[in-house]
């Protein structure tokens, strides 16, 4: 049951011809997606509630990238260079990072429903953020969110270890317990102290928003992605092995406990950093890896980078919709991702069950 969605997973002894076909298909997909991502970035930067022409955007970008001064009013330039550019880049990093985390979590826990928030990370980060927003504790919000996420991770790991050596089931259950406890604490803080209309800010944060993204957020998200993506991508062969079960993985020469702990820690760090930047944006980590598996199969060497690209593109467009759909009003982007993500997930679910029946699973 646990592995149903992952049955397209490439097993090590799959015939070579199929392997080559799959990998060449993945390379083509990666090229197409990379180009799409670049086009999406530019399109998103050109789009927004303010009337700014693509030429002006080019002028501003050219000016800043070549160290000159763009020939436009400082305010219009700031809308582009301090507003849209960091926001779109943050969306790309966060979307890609969440999809990457989702793909890794699904393999680590051998659970198709796993997502980056599974270990209670988002609840922990939310608690940290809400404490800052509501109680006015003088810590930077991202720092507090990050600390909250780390604390939640620590609890989850300790609990899971106590319950049975980081096996996937105990991690999921421990995450659930920690998640509930932190969510309750968050509600308590809000309920206890929400004054006047301060709940608005909390709500928008809890739903996920990129409205406040500036260059420091870009830096946090990008650094986190780079720092964590290296070990995660490096672990793709181990992930392939872990999917076959702990015994099989050990037979393949993988140090199961050490690898799993290290990869969990990477995912936690990355998720914590991303939640700190954008709040908890739902559905990306869950659906993107499933969608990519349908096309590229299950080898993590292909799945992880492709998931990153698709996640980036998805969040860049979702955030663009959030910005302009009801202009000059703005929606929290988490609403958009869930609105789009829900139906997509339903379609994926139906396609997968059909595929499973056909292949006899």
């Amino acid at each position: 049951m646990k592995r149903v969605v992952l049955t397209s997973q490439l097993s090590p002894d799959e015939p070579r011809a199929s392997h080559d076909r799959r990998s060449s298909r993945s390379v083509i997909a990666a090229c197409v997606l990379a180009v799409t991502a670049l086009v999406s970035l530019f399109a998103a930067i050109v789009t927004g509630p303010a009337d700014i022409s693509p030429m002006e955007v080019m002028g501003s970008l050219w000016g800043h990238l070549t160290g000159g001064i763009p020939a436009m009013s400082p305010l219009r330039d700031a809308i582009i260079w301090e507003g849209r550019v960091p926001r779109v880049l943050t969306a790309a990093a966060v979307g890609g990072g969440l999809a990457l985390c989702g793909a890794v979590m699904q393999a680590l826990t051998r659970n198709p429903l796993a997502d980056p928030y599974l270990l209670g990370l988002s609840s922990g980060a939310s608690l940290g953020a809400v404490i800052v927003i509501v109680l006015g504790v003088s810590v930077a919000l991202p720092v507090a969110a990050f600390m909250g996420a780390l604390l939640a991770l620590l609890f989850t790991m300790t609990l899971a270890k106590g319950a049975g050596a980081l096996s996937q089931a105990s991690v999921v259950l421990a995450g659930l317990a920690v998640s509930s406890a932190f969510a309750a604490l968050t509600s308590l803080v809000i309920f206890w102290s929400a004054t006047g209309d301060s709940y608005r800010e909390i709500l928008s944060w809890l739903l996920g928003s990129l409205g406040g993204a500036d260059w420091s957020d870009v830096a946090v998200a990008m650094v986190a992605v780079v720092v964590c993506a290296v070990p995660l991508l490096g672990g793709s062969r181990s992930l392939d092995g872990l999917l076959l079960g702990d015994t099989a993985a050990e037979a393949l020469g993988i140090a199961v406990v050490r690898t799993r702990s290290m990869l969990f820690a990477c995912v936690a760090l990355l998720t914590g950093a991303l939640v700190a930047v954008s709040g908890s944006i739902g559905f990306i980590g869950l659906i993107v890896p499933h969608a990519v598996r349908l096309v590229a199969g299950g080898t993590h060497r292909a799945l992880l980078p492709l998931s990153f690209l698709v996640g980036s593109i998805f969040l860049v467009w979702a955030d663009t919709l959030a910005r302009v759909m009801f202009e000059p009003r703005e929606l929290p982007v988490g609403i958009v991702t869930s609105l789009i993500g829900g139906p997509i997930f339903a379609v994926l679910l139906l396609r997968m069950s059909r595929g499973r029946r056909a292949s006899g699973f």
Binding site: G48, P49, A50, D51, P74, L75, A78, I79, E82, G83, R84, G136, W192, S193, A194, T195, G196, D197, S198, R200, E201, S204, W205, S209, L210, G211, G212, D214, W215, R323, E327, P328, R329, E330, L331, P332
Partner: protein, 325 residues
């Protein structure tokens, strides 16, 4: 009545009520006894309310409610206030000094019922909820009247579209009728209408954004509510006047696109105007706004930003501050 001053008797009576399923009115001999003709009956935000006799024990929820009651000279009838947005204005501080504060936050139904009110006057319709002071229908069944200022109605057909000072003043008169302070209400309306008429709006046609809260997504005054009513009376052009709502979440980019001449900052105890100035200066986009670069801010107290007795004062305060810009 003396029976109901004792909590145990009250609880017992409540249990009997729930067990028998009969209406509170018959047991409690409350003013809403259907046998007696209702002296005042009206449709309040879609809920029918009636009062056989003027309420004598009133609970005010939110500052706008308490301030209106005090302005009508009803301080003796207030048995408690809760969920206030900030301190009372100087003009009402003396009258309000003895009002017991039931809760700093939104109190529960039981906490309000404990003081045995015959009217709960709330600033927001949403205050009447099962996790707040109680649903309106359930309170009415217990013989406790409920009232929301008509300016704060949210249901379609009741929500003012757009809100005007006439709605606000009509609300004064309506409450005066309910609590038998009709004379005071009329005097208050006359006084405030005269004050409003005497205000000379700013003539420079300045554009503005009413910045209420929000870091990532500024929450601003839109086209239909108290902010727009106050701004237009002061002669300001609200950048978001076309948005069909009282308030709206917007984006810094939309604010930057409009580049308003002045920014109205709402000063709340939990989110001060000074904190908003810091935020506007720190945000790399808004730092370039003309209003931010030249420190062209107008500051309004949060309790004055909800339709009520302080709305005219808010206009005066804005015009005064504008004249020194």
């Amino acid at each position: 009545m003396s029976l109901f001053r004792r909590p145990t008797a009250y609880v017992a009576a409540t249990i009997v009520l729930f067990l028998s399923g009969c209406s509170a009115a018959t047991v409690a001999q409350s003013p809403s006894n259907p046998a007696a003709p209702a002296a005042v009956e009206m449709d309040n935000c879609g809920t029918m309310i009636s009062f056989a006799a003027p309420p004598e024990r009133i609970v005010a929820v939110k500052s706008s409610s308490l301030e209106l009651l005090l302005a009508l000279g009803a301080s003796e009838k207030i048995v408690g206030a809760a969920f206030l947005d900030g301190p009372l204005p100087d003009s009402l501080a003396d009258q309000g000094a003895k009002v017991p504060i039931l809760s700093e936050r939104l109190p529960s139904r039981e906490a309000v019922l404990e003081v045995e009110p015959d009217l709960i006057f709330a600033g927001w319709e949403s205050n009447f909820s099962s996790d707040g002071v109680g649903e309106r229908t359930s309170l009415e069944k217990l013989g406790v009247g409920t009232y929301v200022a008509p300016a704060a109605c949210t249901a379609l057909g009741y929500k003012p579209d757009p809100l005007t000072f006439d709605h606000v003043f009509d609300g004064f008169v309506e409450l005066g009728e309910i609590i038998d302070e009709g004379q005071a209400a009329k005097a208050l309306v006359d006084e405030q209408a005269a004050e409003l008429a005497a205000i000379v709006p700013d003539k420079r046609n300045l554009s503005t954004v009413w910045y209420s809260s929000g870091k990532d997504q500024p929450f601003v005054g839109a086209g239909l509510g108290a902010p727009e009513m106050i701004m237009s009376a002061a002669g300001l052009n609200n950048v978001f006047a076309d948005v069909d709502d009282s308030w709206a979440s917007t984006s810094w980019e939309s604010v930057a696109q409009a580049n308003p001449d002045v920014i109205v900052l709402v000063d709340a105890t939990w989110n001060t105007a000074a904190a908003k100035v810091d935020l506007l200066q720190a945000n790399p986009v808004t730092a370039h706004l003309d209003a931010v670069r030249m420190n062209r801010y107008i500051i309004v107290d949060f309790p004055a930003t909800e339709a009520g007795v302080r709305s005219v004062d808010a206009v005066t305060a804005i015009v005064d501050q504008l004249s020194s810009l």
